[in-house]
Symmetry: C2
Subunit: 258 residues, 2 copies
């Protein structure tokens, strides 16, 4: 009977251990894969621009000024925002207040990227000869929706963060109710950013690569690879943010066996 | 003292009531808006095809055969799948087993749409003169990812549904663990479908509308409007699926006041 009881306890312990091990593996896999994809998107857009599009410039060369647009938008809306979301979701080592602060700083760093990215395409079109029209494409309309969502999220996040510092106790219920809405719209903003990038890349590939695209040209494949990285990113980051098991309780990480 | 106690009870009752009223308004708004947008996407793609693209055909006219592709893909991946997800999330009137069954039937109805939609573009390209190459664009690569996710979701959902009928008790824990993964990948599949549609529409607008697009041509605006409907759909359906308050407990709906 005692043996049977011991075996049952052992089994229960092993089950707990195997579950924590599974969660731990999932956690490491998601963090490593997301980080690699976030970096890969930036590396690919830089490689594409330097190798196929002759690098960057500002007002002195409108064609090259355009090149800053995809790079800065991917840096701001995808890499920095993606890292910021991931950081908030997976951080286990510091106090929550520091995690929130870094979450906000990463998003704040995305703002100059987005503003300069917007200016790059606006000036590039205005100063080209003849000037090109603005805001006619679904890409630009989607861009406005994405920027709107980003600003809304930033203002709401910042507002609740300021309230948190001023009157922590009084706003607890309001902030608790806000968390799932903020998280849900955060994922939606990233998905919108990914979709907007994909329509932008489709436009760009038809403008620059043209008929060669349908013959599997090198540049076309690089752009498709960048698109696939963005797609994979959208899938894995939204999975990471929504997955409850990635919120591993501290007691599972600081195992009793250690 | 008795008066104070009564007032506190009254306040608590009113708070509960106002919360349920807020949730009810949110619920109705989400259901009505999502349904309108799901129908609008289908109406807009039909209007676009009949009014600007000369309607439908099959093998006898490859150019018109192509027109079946956006319509069937939007019908399958967006309208039917979207209704299916929404139905599962918002149903309150029937037993869970019937809701699951309808969820599966709606997704099953999407399969012939997707298969025929795929055949429409494949045959249209193969039979055009000269034949056009296949699977070079990021739209087609994204299409494969979306179809893969759809098949994965359908097989996993169907498998767990069959198990449910065979040995309900033994698989309860497994199915409970599966639910959030299935829901998460469901939203991701819809987001992927929306993004794939948007890249497809961008391609199409550059092929068919051409330079007129940048001069705010009528057809261009209709396609952009369709794109915006898809974007709004993506935002609202993903919000509806993730929002816990839309899972109103029965006791709130069947109010004690009734």
């Amino acid at each position: 009977m005692a043996k049977g009881k011991m075996t049952a306890t052992q089994r229960q312990y092993d089950e707990e251990n195997s579950m924590s091990c599974g969660s731990w593996c999932e956690y490491v896999l998601v963090v490593v894969l997301s980080s690699l994809l976030l970096l890969a998107s930036l590396v690919l857009v830089l490689f594409w621009t330097f190798y196929y599009r002759k690098g960057y410039s500002w007002s002195e060369d409108p064609a090259k000024q355009f090149n800053a647009h995809p790079t800065l938008m991917i840096a701001g809306f995808i890499s920095l925002s993606g890292f910021s979301m991931l950081l908030y979701r997976i951080s286990r080592c510091c106090r929550k207040i520091y995690v929130k602060l870094f979450h906000m700083i990463f998003h704040a760093l995305a703002i100059p990227c987005v503003v300069l990215g917007f200016l790059a395409v606006f000036e590039s079109k205005s100063f080209s000869d003849p000037p090109k029209p603005h805001f006619y494409s679904m890409h630009s309309w989607m861009g406005f929706v994405t920027m709107g969502l980003f600003v809304f999220q930033f203002v709401v996040g910042f507002f609740s963060f300021i309230i948190l510092l001023c009157c922590e106790g009084a706003t607890a219920a309001f902030r608790a109710a806000l968390v799932p809405v903020h998280a849900s719209f955060g994922v939606t903003t990233l998905m919108m950013a990914v979709a907007t990038c994909l329509t932008g890349l489709t436009q760009k590939v038809y403008h620059d690569v043209g008929d060669e695209y349908s013959h599997f040209s090198e540049e076309g494949i690089i752009i498709n690879a960048l698109a696939m990285v963005l797609v994979a990113l959208g899938i894995i980051v939204s999975y990471a943010v929504r997955r409850n098991s990635l919120h591993i309780p501290a007691k599972v990480l600081i195992s009793e066996r250690l």
